[in-house]
Structures are given as structure tokens and as C-alpha cells.
């Protein structure tokens, strides 16, 4: 007991190998919500788990924590197979997406609850300071004695976050930890929490539906879609080489424009022919284009690589203004092409445009992404 009291945070075994899941599958009724998921997170590493809602992020976290048992596959924590270990003994800290705050306890009692559980009711030295520090970091220091009923959604989320961060677990799972906070606080906490987690010796998973948030908080990013891992890689990997259309569409604000079309080559030059457009491909893509000349392809273009032009500009694609959003430092114009597709353009300055007015746009020399017409995966 005395040993526990002197060493806060209490660790009885050091995670050696972090977290590893292999071949994890889970079926609810006829729905296979998690299909053959394998991933590993090293101690001190933050894995951003990015996926649209319904992709299975929460189910994956719950399986790692032991709240759901997988149909197939294994889960290792600190080198130990935890398949048969009870949830309470896995020492996984899970921040629930729904917060799961105890309504009858104060904010402070909520946060210290996991520490009390591990130390049989008695709190170690230094706990109060640690909690105070967290409350200050999360800007809820003035709410310590309130009950969750008296808190707003964002405040509740921060209490739940504090309750997860105060623990010293074998793995930390944050299920959409900052989704309900305002933009300013999100910016602050992304960096602050990442900093804290990097100094720890437990692996962390940070789940989010927001691709850019994933890129900014993760040492590596795992993309989950419809229960399957689409891609795992560094943020640079994901951004520069998205493995599939699904991945590409998750990262980017606004998401990448994707057009369906065909590849044609004329002598040395390769062209992408889509509805009403013919685009000359840069040499790097031309080589791939030759191999798949007869197949349908998808061309991905980030909104920043498109530019608005006058009606009738040479090589301009005619379109109509569909919407025009000003964001201050940039603006996003949505155009409707003659074929009925919506194309988004991100540009630096805000230009006054009449809705429905005819304009045209140019495919600049920016990067293009070519995806296979059948599988949707990046052609290499």
C-alpha cells in the first residue's frame, strides 16, 4: 500500500510492446462491422483512427477495451494476449464518445474515480495537483465542484477527456475526444494532448471522423471504412499517396474532387477524358496511364489545384456557380458542370459571384491522383 501511495502515477507493469490487434472481426446480426482489422501501436505513439461515422471506430475501441468480444482475432497489450482478460484487468482507459459521466458525482469525483478504483478508495499523494493541472489545461478548473447536469456538451466532453488522461493505463483510447469543442479549444488541445501523450509510455488511439484532425494528432494514421482498414501510414503517406478514393475523400477540406473518365494516349502525351474535359497528364502519371489505357479511371484533384476563369477562357471547363463560401483566409466555390457534377474550388481570395452565373475553371498543374475505375485504389 505504501509503495502505491508514493509512486503516482501507479504502474505495476511497463508496457513493452504497446498494443497489437490482429485479424479482429466482429459481426452484429448480419452486419460485419469490423472485418479482419490488424494494427499495432507502439508505447508513446499516437495512432489516429480516422473513419466516417459508422465505420466501426467505436466498436474497435470497445473490443480493445474488452467491452465487446471479437468473433475472430486477437488483441495483445504489453505483449500479453488479453483475449481472456476481464475488461477491468486490462487497464485500458477508454473515453466514451457519449462521455459516460457519473451524474451523481461532481466533476472532480468523476475524474478521480478511476484512480480511486485502482488504489482501493485512497488517493495517492499528488493526485489533487495532477487533477488541478488537467482541469486548468482543459479550461474547466472553475467547474470542479459541479455535477455533470450543470455542464454544457463541450464541458462534459472535457471532463470525460480529463478522466481518461488522468489514468496511467496500458492503452489509452480516445473516442472522438474533441469533436464537440469550439474551434479555438480544438486547436489548443490537439497540440497539448498530443504533447502529453508522446511523453507517456503507453500507446494511444485517437479516433475521429475529421481527416485533418487525424493528420495533425497522429504519429501514424489508420483509415477505417466500412469496418476495414483502408490504409495505415504516416500523415505524409496518407496525404501524398491516399490508397483509395475512400481515403482521399476523407482528407482535405473540402474533400478531393473525383471525376470518372478514361485514359487515352496520343504519341508521347496522355490524356484523361472525362465528361466535357480532356486533361493532359503530367509525365509521372503518363507511364501508368499507358498500362491502363483501356480501363475506366477516376481522376482526383484537390480543390486547391483548380482555378476559376472567365467564360470562354482557353482550356476552361464551362460551369455554373452553385455556391460560394467565404472563410476569410480562403473561399470555397462550388460549381456545377454541364454534366451535373459538383466541383469544389478552394482559392485564396473571395470573389463576389452571382449564384447560377456562368463561369469556367481550369485544371492547373497541381497534383492529380489516378484511381482504378473498378477497385477505387490508387494506381501505382
Amino acid at each position: 500500500m505504501t509503495a502505491m501511495a508514493t509512486s503516482f502515477p501507479t504502474i505495476d507493469r511497463r508496457p513493452r510492446d504497446g498494443l497489437a490487434v490482429a485479424g479482429l472481426s466482429k459481426r452484429f446480426g448480419g452486419n460485419e462491422v469490423i472485418q479482419n482489422v490488424s494494427l499495432a501501436v507502439a508505447p508513446g505513439e499516437v495512432l489516429a483512427l480516422v473513419g466516417p461515422s459508422g465505420a466501426g471506430k467505436t466498436t474497435l475501441c470497445r473490443m480493445i477495451a474488452g467491452l465487446e468480444s471479437p468473433d475472430r482475432g486477437s488483441c495483445h497489450l504489453a505483449g500479453q494476449d488479453v483475449g481472456a482478460v476481464a475488461p477491468g484487468d486490462r487497464r485500458v482507459a477508454l473515453m466514451f464518445e457519449s462521455y459516460a459521466l457519473y451524474p451523481h458525482l461532481t466533476v472532480r469525483e468523476n475524474i478521480t474515480s478511476p484512480l480511486q478504483a485502482r488504489s482501493r478508495g485512497r488517493l495517492a499523494e499528488g493526485v489533487k495537483e495532477a487533477v488541478d493541472q488537467l482541469l486548468t489545461l482543459l479550461e474547466i478548473a472553475h467547474l470542479g465542484d459541479r455535477q455533470p447536469v450543470a455542464l454544457s456538451g463541450g464541458q462534459k466532453q472535457r471532463v470525460a477527456l480529463a478522466r481518461a488522461l488522468v489514468q496511467n493505463p496500458s492503452a489509452l483510447l480516445l473516442d472522438e475526444p474533441i469533436s464537440h469543442l469550439d474551434a479555438k479549444l480544438r486547436h489548443k488541445l490537439r497540440g497539448e494532448i498530443r504533447r502529453r501523450l508522446s511523453g507517456k509510455d503507453h500507446p494511444s488511439i485517437w479516433s475521429t471522423p475529421d481527416g485533418l484532425e487525424g493528420l495533425s494528432v497522429g504519429d501514424r494514421v489508420a483509415v477505417l471504412a466500412e469496418g476495414r482498414i483502408e490504409q495505415i501510414g504516416t500523415p505524409e503517406d496518407i496525404w501524398l499517396r491516399p490508397a483509395s478514393i475512400k481515403v482521399a475523400k476523407l482528407f482535405g477540406d473540402p474533400p478531393m474532387n473525383v471525376l470518372k473518365g478514361e485514359l487515352h494516349s496520343q504519341g508521347e502525351m496522355s490524356f484523361f477524358r472525362g465528361p466535357e474535359v480532356s486533361i493532359e497528364l503530367p509525365p509521372s502519371l503518363a507511364a501508368r496511364a499507358k498500362s491502363g489505357a483501356d480501363r475506366g479511371v477516376y481522376l482526383g484533384v484537390r480543390p486547391g489545384a483548380l482555378t476559376l476563369a472567365e467564360v470562354g477562357a482557353p482550356a476552361g471547363v464551362p460551369a455554373q456557380v452553385y455556391s460560394n463560401e467565404a472563410f476569410g483566409k480562403h473561399s470555397i466555390v462550388t460549381l456545377r458542370t454541364g454534366a451535373g457534377d459538383l466541383v469544389k474550388i478552394k482559392q485564396k481570395d473571395h470573389v463576389a459571384l452571382t449564384l447560377g452565373a456562368p463561369v469556367s475553371f481550369l485544371y492547373g498543374a497541381g497534383e492529380f491522383f489516378l484511381f482504378d475505375g473498378k477497385t477505387g485504389s490508387l494506381t501505382t
Partner: protein
Amino acid sequence: MNNSTPLGTFFRTAIAVICALTILFPVIWMVSMMFKPADVMFARPTQFFFSPTLANFDYVIAQGFLSNLVTSLLLGVISTAMVVVIGTPAAYAFARFEMKKKDDLFLFILASRMAPPVCLVIPFYLIYAKIGLLDTFVGLSLAYMTFNLSFYVWVLRSFCRDLPVELEEAAILEGWSKPQVFWRVVFPLLRNGIVATSVLCFIFAWNEFLFAFMLGGSSVQTLPVAIPKLITAQGVRWGEVAVVGVVSLAPVLAVVVLLQRHIVRGLTMGAVKG
């Protein structure tokens, strides 16, 4: 409702007062009867003003009604306490745990309450006669317990199901043991439901007549069973009946007033998502 004129307020208040008086009139009448001397009890025209007497109370106490009162109170409290102790874990188990034939079992529990009491009192009587539980305190409190238990489990199960299961999951992950999760998380959140439901159980036991009449006797006699003692060969002693009636009302009113906060919360829980 902010456009109320003084006149409108007056009319609304008047209507509320009239409604309240209409509903409360029998009770007020009974309270006035408590203090009425026998000779003006049914005087025509009705005398609303009379010199009050405590003679009715003297007779009631002399007849030993105090012991009936204690019996009723003890029976209500003890049978309800047993119901809470046994029923709360049962309701929680029905709400949360996986078990075979759960729905059938639950329907069976409910069915035991659906049968008319008069059907059950005969087997109860025969069994109690065989094992010597007739006219015993234990026998009657067991009977009330079995009767209330099904109702209690049935109602409390829905309170349990309204609790978000993630609270318990969070506590489990934190490392609390199952009993600790129940005491730290489930029980405090169920408290309003437990209070509201057990008050109903107490009121049922307090008001019950048939079982108390059939299974009780001279040594265990509850208040409702004792009232007919006031129908004497010389006539019905109305003043004394009124005294016993008001006394029967008092504990129920006291419980409701004292626990109002819990009961209202309990009865409206689930109506609005909080």
C-alpha cells in the same frame, strides 16, 4: 400566460380552489366527524360549527386500536424492506444480465400479480394452515412480500433499463468490481425509482384488506381489518370510524409529503430524456 389581468388571476384561482374543495370535501367531512359529538353527528340541518370533543379518540384507544396501528405500520415497513432488498438486485439482473428464458421468466413474475388476489388467498390459506403460518406476523409479511415483489421487480426493471449502460461499462473499465459498480453507480441513480416504487408497495400493504382478513386473526390484526369492530350491536360508531380513517390516511400522506421530491422524479423519469 403573461397577459393575465388581476381579474383573470382571480378567476383562475377561484376555479382551482373550487376543484380542490370538491376533491377534498369527503376528507374534510371525515376530519370534522372525528371531533363531532355523537348527538350532532347526523343532525339535520348539518351543523358545521359545534363544540369539539375528544371522546371518539378515547374509545378508539380503549378498543386497542393502537396495537392495530403498530401492526399495520410494521407489516408495511418490513414487507416493503424485504421487497427492496430482494427485488432491487432481481430487477437489475432482469434488465442487464443474459439468461436463458429471461422473457418467459419475467412474464411469469408479472403473471403472479395479474391473478385476482381472491384466487391466491385460498391456496395461501391452505398452505399457511399446514405449516402453521396462519395468524402470524411472519406469515402475513411474507404474503405481502410475494405480492409486492412482482410489482416492484416489474417497475424497477424499466428504471434499470433507462440507465445508460455505458456508465456501468466505464466503471468496470476503471477497475471497480461488479458489486462496487452496483453500489457506486447503479444504486445512486436508481434511488428515486426505488423510493417511488417502494412507496407504492407500502401503500398497497397498508391498505390491503383481503389477505389481512383471511390470513391474520386475533394476534395479527391490521387497521383495515379492525375497523369493523366499530360496527357494534348498538350501531355504527361513526365518529370513531372517522378517527381510524384519518389515522389510516396519515402515514400515506406523511410518506408522500416527505419523499415528494423522489416520487415525482421517479414517476416522471423516462418521460423526458435528461
